[in-house]
Every structure is written in C-alpha cells, then in structure tokens.
Symmetry: C2
Subunit: 426 residues, 2 copies
C-alpha cells in the first residue's frame, strides 16, 4: 500500500483528519479537486463572517446616537483583502499538513476499489479511505443564472436590491448583512417561517428583528419562476418581486457524484453516505465525514467527525456523540443553540443584560434548559456574540454539570455571558 | 428591630445582596448617598464599555480595506444616549428592589452601633448590616483640577490629546478608546510596565499593540507635577508632556470615611475593612462586600461577595472561594484571566484563530493552564471578545474538568472560542 490513509477532499473535515492522522504517524495522501479548505474556508463561513462583521459595524455606527458617518465601500478592494485573509487561513492549513508530511494532489479523485483511488489518471492505494467531499448548493430546475453562496460572497458591489430564495441560515445571514449595508432585501421561504432548521422561539426573534431592519420576509411562499432582463423578476405564489440580484439558498446537497461510490457498493442514506457511529461506511475501511453524511452541514460537525474517524483509524474505539453539537446563525440577533430541549428552563431577555445595552443591541433572549435534577441539557440564545458564549453551555452539557454550576460560576461584568449566569435567583 | 438587614451603599454588590435577601423574605433597607448602581453602573464599567464599543467600531472601519469612512462624534448627543442607557439599567435595578419590597433611603448613612444606622438625622435598626460603600479614585496630593473616571466618561468632546497618569486598567481602557477615536494619548506608569496587576505576558501583548496604535507609553516614570494653563503640562522624571486633558487613574481607595466604623470598632486591613471568608467583619452581624474589602475591585467580585454575605445572613454557611475569579481589561487586545497559573500550559496565537482574521483583529494569544493530571487551572487570553469566552475556562476550573473536556467539546466554527479548544492535538 502507498499510504495508510487517503483523504478525498481537503475541506474543513479532511484537513482536521489529516492533521490528527499525521501527528499519529500515519502516512497520508490528500486529494482535492479544487481549493484547500473547501467550501467553508474559501466560499462559506469564513468570507461570510468577514462580510457580516463589516455590516454589523456599519449598522451599529449608523444607529449610534451622537455618531454621524458617511461611508463608501469599494467591494473590489474589500474582496482583495478578503481573498488574502482566506489565503492566509487556507495556506496555513495546507502548510501545516505538508510540514507534517502529507502528500497533496490536486485533481478529481475516484474510488476504484476499497483500497484504490484514481486521480489524474494514476492509482494510489491505502489501508483506509476517508471521504470528505462536502456539498454543493441545491438548484431549482429551470432557474438558472442566479447567484449562489460563491457568487454573492465574491460580489463587486453592494446591490441595490436582492431577492433571497430560501430562508435557511445561508440566505438569512447574507440577507441580514446586505440589509445592514443598505440593500433592499426580500427573503422568500416556502415553509411557514424563516430558519425552519432552528427552534421556533429563535426563528421568531430573528423574524421580528429582520422585519424591523426593513427586510421583506415572505413565508409559505413558493417561487414559481425567475426571469432576468435588466433586473430579475421573481414570481412567487404571493406576487412578483423585482430585484437587482437573486440569491438561491434552498439548501445544499452532498457531493457524491462521480467519486466511484458504486465501485465499492457503499450503502447510501438517501443522498447521503450512510455511516455508523464510528463514521465508518458499509465498506469497513472507508469512512465518510462532514456534509456527505447525515447531520447538520456545519464545519465544526465535520471537524468532530474527522476526529472520530481518525481515532478509529488509529485504533481507538471512539464513537460520535452529538449531544452538544452547537448550531450558530450569524444573523440579528445572532442565534445559537446547543444540547437538547427539556421541560424545565429559565429565560431572561437580552435587554436585561447590561453589556447588550452598552452595545445598543439588546434584542433577543437566553433560555437554559435543564432536567428535573438540575442537570443542564442545552440552551437557546439570541443575543449579540451568542456564538462565543454557547460553548459554556455545551461544556456543561458534555460534563453533566448542574444549573447551579452555571449560576455560581463568576461571570465577568459586564459581558453578554452574564445572561447565562443571570442572577442566582432566577 | 426595624429591618432584617440594612445595606449601606446601593452599588453593584449592595443591589445584588438586596435582591437575594428580598427573595428570601428578608426585610431590607438600602441607604445610598448618591446614585443607585454606584460607581460601576453610573460612572465606571457600564459607560466605559459603551465608549469602548464605539471606539472599536470606528477603529475597525477606519482600518478595513475597501471601506472609507468620514465620521463626526457629537459627544453631547452620545452622552444623552449613554445617560438614558445607564438610567435604564439603574432604574431597572432600583425598580426590582422596590418591587421586591425594599425600602430605599437616599442620604449619607453612618453606623451608630452594631444594630443602628443613622441617615438624614434618623436612626434605623436591623439584625444585620452590610457595608458596600465602594471606592473613590486615589488622588496625588498637590495635583488638582484633573480628570478622573467620572469626568472623562462625561466628556463633551473627543480631546485632541490626553495624558493618562497611571497605566492600570482604567487608564489603559480609556487611553485605548481615546486613541481609537483619534486622540493623541500618553500613558505614564510608575512601575516598569503597564497593567502591573495582570501577568506579564498579557501586559506585554497590550503594550505592543497600544504602541502600534500610536500611544506613547512611558513606564518607570513618576509624575513630578501637573500644571494647567491653556493646556496641561505634565512633568515626569523622563520629560514633559503637553496635553489638553489629564486623566488621573492611579488606583482607587476604599470608601470608609465618616461611615461610623469607629463606633463599632471594626477591624481594618490597612485601608480596607477586614472580613473573614463569610464576608463577616470583626463585628459578627456586620458584613462588608466589594471594593471596601480586599481583593480585586471588580463589580463581579462584589456580586459574588454579595451572594456569600446574603447566604450567611439567610442562615446558609457559604464561604468565598476566589479560585476562578475572572479579570477582564477591555483594551486591545482585550485581555482576560481566570484561575491560577500552573507549570503546564498550551498556547496558541490569536492569529491562528480564523474568526479573529475575519475581524481583522488577530493580535494576542490563548494560554490554558493545567495540572499534571490534566485538570484545568486557569487561562490567560488576549483576543477580541476574550471577556465573553473566559467563563468557559472558569467553569472548567470550578468543576475540576480536564483539558480533554475543553478540547473535545465541540466549539462552533468560526468563533474566537475555538482558540480555547484549539485543535485536539496541541
């Protein structure tokens, strides 16, 4: 065998798996069809956070009493910065893998048999294969020539108006940022609420705030057709929208096409590769991680899958446990969820958290869930920077801590995190 | 007796003690000489965070490639907003105490004997007294007519230049904010480094960044005299500075004057009121909490003291344990510390955390300390929003968690909190 492990796809998960395997003295080949770092680093979570960060600062200053600002955005110059920033992250990741001894081949890899992968016309063999081929945006047949996440995050100007088809996290994050940068935003969602993937209380908090930002949200509204002349015309069941740009964000589908799954007869779970809780496929030396497997399509879920798969390859019997898998959407309010809902909970409003008031940004709430004996089971938080504080609750859930452990741990004042602590009475 | 408890001083600690006692059915009188909420809410942590928040957004946008901004700050309008924001917080706090049944008297209270407090010429009696009279800025004899925290946070314009005497947290926080708002800032510190109250690695990270912001830092430099004509002239051992404003921030001293401590012969610890680990003074039914007692002068330390004192009054034998008392300084990088140093640690640079790069704000480091068996003992973090993530480590320290619990808890991507998690290898 040429390698201990071949990793097909150098996205977030593939990269983390490689580092873990390499540090454990495994010989690793990484095969990547496009860019090191995959969708998240190059076209997803990283560039979107940069855009959102800028939009939040502008929005904050526009609304801060006593501050008057005029600003101009040269998106080409911003894109240049963003691309350099992304290259730094992806370059560091690739450099780390190479420094640890990985071989990296750019090309489209196809599995020939359970130990063989073909890339650029050549076969490579390995004891194990990890599939981390990620996902691509879902498309609606008959609707072409629209923007997807890659195009919108590579845009050269702030559009005058944008119609977002699909009110999931990608559409809502981009819609929020564009509205704060001054675009007229429409969000069209077929289900009866935006962010149908999160619990209703969180979804409602976002819906309320986005409407107050002037975003036109249409729920229970299917798109019938999209045409383009000078502007786009989006026909929905409930009327027609005219917009400069249309962003299609109706979900993502796993990348399983043409990678040779049929050659090894891997069992599928619908469109996804079926795996057990070791992230092992029906072929025992082939693993699958990240977006090609079921579960939330999140980079940190891929990281975790990567760790589990790598540990099993190393010889440690580790299984996945998604008990405290966080879910964050960088909209307004920023919402975060971890763990699971239980019938007991404590809730306070973000407006009761002094730090939020100092930021002039106090919409939302904190809800901490716990069992009858006080064991923390999860949290739903809608507050600025909730992404940064949700891990405190994840750690509590993972470690079976009691609500009193959260309440009696001293939280620095003033912080948003005080909303978790609350006062010890509530 | 008129009351179960009289609380002298309705600052952060007094307020929290009152709420806890009231919810436990105690009859409470609060006596406040000035403003509900005390120094922190009215003139300290709350208004300073609002100022810092604004300065950070302006600095971020000024430095973001692709963004050009012109801005004007009307500090009078900002002060109006800030005062309303503060009033909302203090009003809510006072309203909560009243709704729970507290009596509140405004006036200067003096302890007459161990059960009696005199205010506005009238005596009130109680089973217990809690002293939470806070602190005032230290002054240098012979130097008058300068700004202290109250004056600088109430300022009506951004000064052209400011000399900060004292490089502790107050001086450094305000100096950082003013530099980002465009002031020429000098920081004069008698000791050999700024922020002598924190560990040297954190202090160095701030020193480096502040110098890059153009702040002129003079250490090992005593101030000899301050005179004022049109501008201030500050003579130091190492030369003379001319500045529009002088901020004096050379520490704070406990407020123990004229409150009748001599009438009950309370034992002192230098300038501070001596307390045991129940926050009980040498007079067994009199407690002291917050800045008048030894320990860091922090609102959350006062909150914690308040909880402990109130619990003991209620009849529960609770003692203070400062094992994981966080310390946060909102400068650049924002620095946070919790727990204690041990000989084992893991460190990564903030520049390795992707979320920091998306914010164009990646100076600093994460250092997690742990015992030989892996038990987490503390952390020193210099990174944007470190105040929000330090509690994850405090919770780990309080709960005797292992470094592996931090490493294996899934952190959402991309967040600053990932710096704690790092990758599972390091």
């Amino acid at each position: 065998m040429d390698y201990d492990v071949i990793i097909l796809g150098a996205g977030a998960g593939g990269y983390k798996a490689a580092v873990h395997l390499l540090k454990n003295k495994k010989k690793v080949l990484m095969v990547e069809k496009e860019k090191f770092g995959g969708e998240c680093l190059n076209y997803g979570c990283i560039p979107s956070k940069a855009l959102i960060e800028m939009s939040e600062s502008i929005y904050y200053l526009k609304n801060m009493p006593g501050v008057s600002i005029d600003y101009k955005i040269d998106m080409n110059a911003w894109q240049e910065w963003k691309n350099k920033m992304v290259s730094k992250i992806t370059g560091n990741a690739e450099g780390q893998c190479r420094a640890l001894g990985a071989d990296i081949i750019y090309g489209f890899g196809t599995i020939k048999d359970e130990n063989t992968l073909n890339v650029n016309g050549k076969d490579y063999t390995a004891e194990n294969i990890i599939i981390d081929t990620g996902s691509v945006p879902a498309r609606i047949p008959g609707i072409d020539n629209v923007y997807y996440n890659r195009e919108i995050l590579g845009i050269d100007h702030v559009p005058e108006s944008i119609a977002v088809i699909g009110g999931g996290y990608i559409g809502v994050e981009i819609g929020t940022a564009m509205a704060k940068l001054g675009s007229k935003v429409y969000i069209i969602e077929a289900k009866d609420r935006i962010l149908p993937e999160v619990n209703e209380e969180l979804s409602k908090a976002v819906d309320k705030k986005l409407r107050s930002l002037g975003i036109n949200i249409m729920t229970s509204s299917k798109v019938l057709s999209v045409s383009k002349d000078n502007y786009y015309k989006v026909k929905t069941e409930n009327g027609e929208i005219s917009s400069e740009i249309v962003l299609m964000s109706v979900g993502r589908i796993p990348n399983t096409k043409d990678i040779g799954l049929e050659n090894v007869k891997i069992e599928m779970d619908g469109r996804f590769i079926k795996t057990d809780n070791h992230r092992r496929t029906s072929v025992k030396n082939i693993y699958a991680i990240g977006d090609v497997t079921t579960g939330p399509m999140l980079a940190h879920k891929a990281f975790y899958d990567a760790y589990v798969a790598a540990e099993n390859i190393i010889g440690n019997d580790v299984i996945v446990d998604y008990k405290a898998m966080p879910y964050v959407i960088y909209t307004d309010p920023e919402i975060s969820f971890t763990g699971y809902v239980s019938k007991n909970s404590k809730k306070i409003m973000t407006s009761a958290v002094p730090r939020a008031l100092t930021m002039n940004d106090s919409d939302g709430f904190f809800r901490i869930y716990y069992d009858d004996d006080g064991t923390v089971t999860g949290a739903a938080i809608a507050a600025p920077r909730s992404s940064e504080i949700i891990t405190e609750v994840s750690l509590a859930v993972e470690s079976y801590l009691n609500i009193k452990d959260l309440l009696l741990t001293v939280h620095p004042h003033p912080t948003i995190a005080e909303g978790i602590h609350d006062d010890f009475e509530n």
